[in-house]
């Protein structure tokens, strides 16, 4: 009883703070874009991740001539940590992934064992889809890249809903194989509409398109994401986020190794 009260109070405070922040942001947005590209990127990544949340991802992996569907539960602190546990199809059910900064752990029910993966695994494809681990969890866009405002016409996309394009350049020594990334931002809500990853020869290799934002208080999160492999015709993955619990209380136990096997709810 008391705990629920505290929670409600926290929510109220959070809302008040959010409102206070939102007002100047909105007024500023009406005029010119925020001066600081890094600050903008931070806000954009916040809205990509949606803060601490629980939810269910449904992946539809499309390949020429076939599709596969995966369902998984996700819990994240909206920052560097996230736990993903697969519930369907039965073949993959029980597999779980834990991301904590550079650490990436895989639990396989068949092995009954957790494996620690090399950090470069974060940009590898997840479950044979076009989505990589760091598309779902973590702030790699912020930590691996420096942001600048892209010159007009830099993007290869139509501008619908996008007011600002951020150009991200890898920081020296950052473990990313990409040459740069462009992020299309809707200025009013500071949400990313799309992210294009380029290889080092100026070719788009991967496109993320984000839509159907769910908003709860200060938090926004896209519930529809399309990831396309731009190097291959017909390779794309449609991701839906459902049963979302935004701004949720996420216990520490979710990011301990034991959670891989047993979960934390």
């Amino acid at each position: 009883m008391e705990r629920r009260y505290v929670k409600a109070l926290a929510l109220a405070v959070a809302l008040a703070v959010a409102a206070a922040v939102a007002v100047p942001a909105a007024t500023q947005g009406a005029g010119e874009p925020p001066r600081d590209a890094s600050a903008l990127l931070r806000a954009v990544v916040d809205n990509l991740r949606g803060g601490p949340l629980w939810g269910t991802y449904t992946f539809v992996v499309e390949r020429p001539g076939r599709t596969a569907e995966y369902v998984m539960e996700v819990v994240t602190d909206g920052d560097e940590r996230g736990l993903i546990r697969i519930v369907a199809p039965p073949r993959e059910a029980g597999q779980a992934f834990l991301m904590d900064g550079n650490d990436l752990w895989l639990y396989n029910a068949r092995l009954g064992r957790s494996l620690r993966l090399p950090p470069s695994g974060r940009s590898n494809a997840f479950l044979g889809s076009d989505v990589s681990y760091n598309d779902m969890v973590g702030r790699d866009l912020e930590t691996d890249y420096t942001a600048a405002f892209a010159p007009p016409g830099a993007a290869e996309r139509d501008g619908a809903g996008v007011d600002i394009v951020l150009e991200l350049t890898p920081r020296p020594g950052a473990p990313t194989p990409y040459g740069r990334a462009l992020v299309g931002v809707e200025e009013a809500r500071l949400i990313p509409r799309w992210v294009d990853y380029y290889d080092q020869r100026g070719q788009v290799v991967k496109r993320l398109t984000l839509a159907e934002y769910l908003e709860a208080g200060d938090w926004r999160v896209p519930t529809h994401m399309v990831v396309e492999d731009a190097t291959r015709e017909g390779y794309r993955t449609v991701v839906r986020l459902t049963d979302v619990e935004l701004d949720a209380a996420v216990p520490e136990a979710c990011f301990a190794l034991q959670a891989l096997e047993r979960g934390c709810r």
Partner: protein
């Protein structure tokens, strides 16, 4: 003949020698044929050994300068299990080693396994972290960067040509290395500054070379896994022994010959195989020399009969025949030596054999052949070829010499 005759009857040894010598030039065709056989056999022997030894030396050389090092220092545990966890103890080994006579340079290296990732491909790799300046003195790889340049500082990587092709990375692009050793999982983006084309398949197909500092960050190794020493060719084992005295317990210095691994047996057995093959050729060569001497002596039965009739004892007659064979063979041998060593010198000076081996090299990376394969020039070849010729002379002189010694003048002069 008329000139020679007066000197005959008293016949002390010296005139006999003179007679034998003169006889050579009277039977010019015969002499030239024998000369040619002997010279050719000598030439063949030297050429063959120059090739066989040169191959062996070239393999060791490419291990010293491309694949391993002239002398390597590492923990005993590391030799057993080359994992970064068996790194060298924290002692100022490098400064200590600089004063050892025979050590021209020393450079620390960290070897570690890693995943190498480009925008397109991820693959396992054996990475080596080096001190770019130290490596220049030690290894030929810095001179063989075909595209871009050699390492200058941290944040850079040089790839073997085949590695770059397989992960589709070009100079100027970056790749990601991730490793998990003492420091836990670590990842780092590095810029490809150079692509090496050494012609040594083991290097071109596997080399991933980074700065020592980056290797330390990725592995957490505070020191190094190995120290490579630059020492003069041929002194490796001796210097390794000298260095050993200064090393702490559990750390061993090994010369290149102890580092070539399975190739050592290969090279040694190659030599053994070469000896077997050589024996067959020797036998054939000796046969050629023997039969030539034999026939040329036999055909002179009538002439020898005349000389015998002039009072030369059969024993001295046998000696005369043997001397003639000896002179011809000695001349042929000297000529063959000149030709053979000239050929060996050419093989040793110009990279004639390298292109020949280039094709083999790619399909046998462990053979460690570089683009440069030089012939060897060793004084032992004088002995090798000399032995073959000597054996042939002894064999051939035995039969015809005895035949001459048994000669009965009257019968011989009638012989055809």
């Amino acid at each position: 003949m008329t000139e020679a005759a007066p000197a005959l009857p008293p016949a002390p040894a010296a005139p006999l020698v003179r007679l034998a010598w003169r006889n050579l030039w009277r039977h010019r065709q015969r002499t030239i044929l024998l000369l040619a056989v002997v010279a050719y056999v000598t030439f063949l022997t030297i050429f063959y050994w120059s090739f066989v030894d040169g191959y062996g030396e070239s393999v060791v050389e490419s291990y010293a300068r491309y694949i391993v090092a002239p002398v390597r220092i590492a923990a005993d545990a590391w030799y057993e299990d080359p994992d970064p966890e068996h790194h060298l103890p924290d002692q100022p080994l490098l400064s200590m080693l600089a004063d050892v006579p025979g050590v021209r340079g020393a450079s620390a290296r960290i070897h570690f396994p890693a995943l190498l990732q480009s925008a397109y491909v991820t693959q396992g790799a054996e990475v080596v972290g080096v001190d770019p300046a130290g490596e220049r003195r030690l290894s030929r790889i810095p001179d063989k960067v075909a595209e871009g340049r050699w390492l200058e500082g941290p944040g850079e990587v040089v790839l073997g040509q085949e590695v770059a092709r397989r992960i589709d990375a070009r100079v100027g692009e970056h790749v990601v290395l991730s490793a998990g050793a003492l420091a836990g999982p670590q990842a780092m983006g590095l810029q490809v500054v150079g692509i090496a084309r050494t012609g040594v398949a083991a290097v071109d197909q596997t080399a991933v070379i980074v700065h020592l500092e980056d290797a330390r960050r990725l592995t957490g190794v505070p020191t190094a896994t190995t120290i490579a020493l630059d020492v003069a060719r041929g002194t490796e084992a001796a210097v390794a022994e000298r260095v050993q005295a200064l090393l702490p317990a559990g750390v061993t210095a090994r010369g290149v010959w102890d580092l070539v691994g399975p190739i050592k047996a290969d090279v040694e057995a190659n030599q053994a195989f070469a000896h077997v093959l050589a024996l067959v050729v020797y036998a054939f060569a000796a046969l050629a020399v023997t039969s030539t001497v034999f026939v040329s002596v036999m055909e002179r039965t009538r002439e020898l009969g005349v000389i015998a009739a002039l009072g030369v004892t059969p024993r001295r007659l046998g000696l005369l025949v043997t001397l003639e064979a000896f002179f011809t063979c000695a001349l042929g041998w000297l000529g063959g030596l000149a030709l053979g060593y000239a050929a060996a010198w050419a093989l040793a000076t110009y990279n004639i054999l390298g292109p020949l081996f280039a094709a083999i090299s790619a399909s046998m990376p462990t053979a460690g052949l570089s683009e440069e394969v030089y012939g060897a020039v060793r004084t032992a070849y004088v002995a090798y070829s000399g032995m073959v010729i000597a054996a042939a002379v002894v064999m051939s002189a035995l039969v015809p010499g005895r035949r001459a010694a048994r000669l009965r003048p009257a019968a011989a002069m009638r012989a055809e």
